[in-house]
């Protein structure tokens, strides 16, 4: 049953059926073959999105879309440019730092990297960086978005694993900074090797202006964390507050959001939400078959055959996730794998909050490589870079990201200490 299901899914994905409908079709086919009434598929799909915590997703997406529509990436770019643009390799540091700030506002890497590729790659090329390096760095830095809160993927993980989304968000901060540090170190080494130049000279006045200009946007991540820190807001409420804040800043402070444009912005945020969440709906019957087929038990006995050392099994899971992440949509893997992996994680005594962060970093790194790296496709597509050029440039960054991943995997305190502190 499970083998048929997985084979069908693979086949349908390969012939180009949209992911949501490939999941639905393979589940429907297996349900039909097993002689189970098909109403169950429909019932599972409808129930799949009937969940209040998931409402955080459209609101975080709305907050990000509103901030983007009010020109936030240009403002943050100006700020980080004034901050670190003058040092050697400045533009590359500006890139990483802007992504750190953007991650605190937007929750999805795809949206971020489309915006940052348009802003950064032409700028970096103009400053004498080669194209491959610029695109590779931009794509790697986009990995931060789903790790630094807010994060759509963490909301979905929390919903599937039944873990507090607030805890996950706080747990994502330090690992996000570790990854940013790893990228900064890589940039520093590359700067020394290749002799990148400097940007405009430092000016305190320019920095002050840029800071005040961007400060409204910078307050948003603070608002989100404080909202959770106070412990009185749920994820959905924090998302609503973030969206309301972005709305007020865009319409009344920056005044770049025009009222007549709002329906278009709202519809676009709704469509972005739906193209993600329809997968949560159609993956529900798929996951149901996996669970009645006893996939979690089979995986548990398979993995515990290798070793009973939690650290070793965690390494094994890391490798499996990295490989799967290169083949499959991150979101689909979270929805399908979390219910399967969670019993195993609990048996091993690994904290599900820590595991959530590790899992998402794994899967997002997979988006940077062929055959199915969405971040790779989008950054290469927008900047007009060939996949070969990208692959040569991405190697040092991949090494840095994997070192950061190992550190985050084996130092659970990075994720868990701040959560314990803020609880």
């Amino acid at each position: 049953m499970i083998a048929t299901l997985l084979l069908l899914l693979l086949l349908l994905l390969l012939v180009g059926v949209p992911t949501a409908y490939a999941l639905a079709a393979s589940a429907i086919a297996v349900i039909w073959l097993e002689g189970i009434p098909l109403t169950i598929a429909v019932q599972r799909m409808t129930a799949g999105v009937q969940s209040f915590p998931l409402l955080a997703i459209p609101l975080f997406i709305l907050a990000g879309t509103l901030m983007n529509a009010s020109g936030i990436s240009e403002r943050l770019f100006a700020l980080t440019g004034a901050l670190v643009g003058h040092i050697r390799g400045g533009m590359a540091y500006v890139n990483v730092l802007t992504n750190v700030f953007m991650s605190g506002i937007s929750g999805s890497s795809l949206a971020d990297c489309a915006a940052t590729t348009r802003v950064f790659v032409p700028q970096m090329i103009k400053h004498g960086y080669d194209k491959g390096f610029s695109v590779g760095l931009t794509a790697s830095a986009a990995v931060l978005a789903p790790i630094i809160p807010p994060s759509i993927l963490l909301v979905i993980y929390g919903w599937q694993a039944n873990v507090s989304i607030g805890d996950l968000f706080v747990a994502g901060i330090a690992p996000g900074l570790v990854i940013a540090t790893a990228l900064v170190v890589t940039v520093a080494v590359m700067t020394r090797l290749r002799g990148f130049g400097r940007g405009a000279a430092f000016s305190a006045g320019k920095l002050r202006d840029a800071f005040f200009d961007a400060s409204w946007a910078l307050l948003m991540p603070v608002l989100i964390i404080v909202g959770f820190r106070m412990g009185i807001f749920t994820a959905t409420e924090v998302a609503a507050i973030a969206a309301a804040y972005a709305f007020l800043v865009g319409v009344f402070v920056y005044r770049t959001l025009k009222v007549l444009e709002l329906p278009r912005v709202f519809a676009s945020a709704a469509r972005d939400t739906s193209s993600i969440l329809v997968i949560a709906a159609t993956a529900a019957p798929f996951g149901w078959i996996l669970s009645i087929g006893q996939a979690p038990q089979q995986l548990l006995s398979f993995l515990s055959g290798f070793s009973d050392n939690p650290m070793l099994i965690l390494l094994l899971i890391n490798i499996i996730l990295l490989v799967l992440g290169t083949f499959m949509e991150t979101l689909v893997l979270i929805i399908i794998l979390v219910p399967i992996l969670l019993p195993l994680i609990e048996t091993l005594g690994i904290d599900p909050v820590h595991f959530g962060i590790v899992m998402i970093i794994n899967l997002v790194i997979g988006q940077l490589t062929p055959p199915l790296g969405v971040l790779m496709y989008v950054t290469c597509g927008i900047s007009g870079t060939s996949i070969g050029q990208f692959m040569r440039a991405i190697k040092p960054f991949l090494v840095a990201l994997i070192i950061a991943l190992l550190a985050i995997t084996y130092i659970p305190a990075l994720a868990l200490y701040p959560t314990a502190l803020l609880r």
């Binding site: 994905l13 390969l14 012939v15 180009g16 059926v17 949209p18 992911t19 949501a20 409908y21 639905a24 079709a25 429907i28 109403t39 598929a41 429909v42 019932q43 799909m45 409808t46 999105v49 009937q50 969940s51 209040f52 998931l54 409402l55 459209p58 609101l59 795809l110 009185i232 807001f233 959905t236 409420e237 609503a240 507050i241 969206a243 309301a244 709305f247 709002l262 329906p263 278009r264 709202f266 519809a267 709704a270 469509r271 972005d272 939400t273 739906s274 193209s275 969440l277 329809v278 709906a281 949509e329 062929p370 199915l372 969405v374 496709y377 989008v378 290469c380 927008i382 007009g384 996949i387």
Partner: protein
Amino acid sequence: MKTLVLWLDDRVREIEYHALWLLLAAIFIILTATVFFRYVLGSPITWTEEFLTMLFTWMVFIGASSALSTHQHIRIDIVLRLLPPRYALAASIVAVLTCLAVFWVTIHYGLKYARTTWGDLTPMMGVTFGFYTLALPVTSMCAALHVIRACVDDGVRTALMSTIEAQAGEGDEA
């Protein structure tokens, strides 16, 4: 026939567009108001959770259908690009037929499910569960129409193309 499909699909697109922004705006306003009532005025509104989940269910399914018409859905196309044109066309036909088969199931069994749940009432607002269960079959009809329109309008080959691929495609040309 073709003009009829195009006309009908254009109307559905318009309706979906307005439904989408209105639904998200409603969710946004109601949720913000709920937070305001609960924390600022100290008198929580209790019925909103169920109502919001209902609006949300509709938004997700309408948006999914609408995303097919604007090609914003998510799909994997790596193999299609490697295939020789003849096989790529065959794969596209299989993909379109698979989608239509899924829509047939969600429409037929969705309506059946809506009928059986019509008498059940939701716990908080006491309205019929049909408000939830109708969302999938109704929007599946729209989604099927979008796919058919895309086939009629630009051909089967590009009917299920997504904008992520279009962005990636810019790279191939450069």
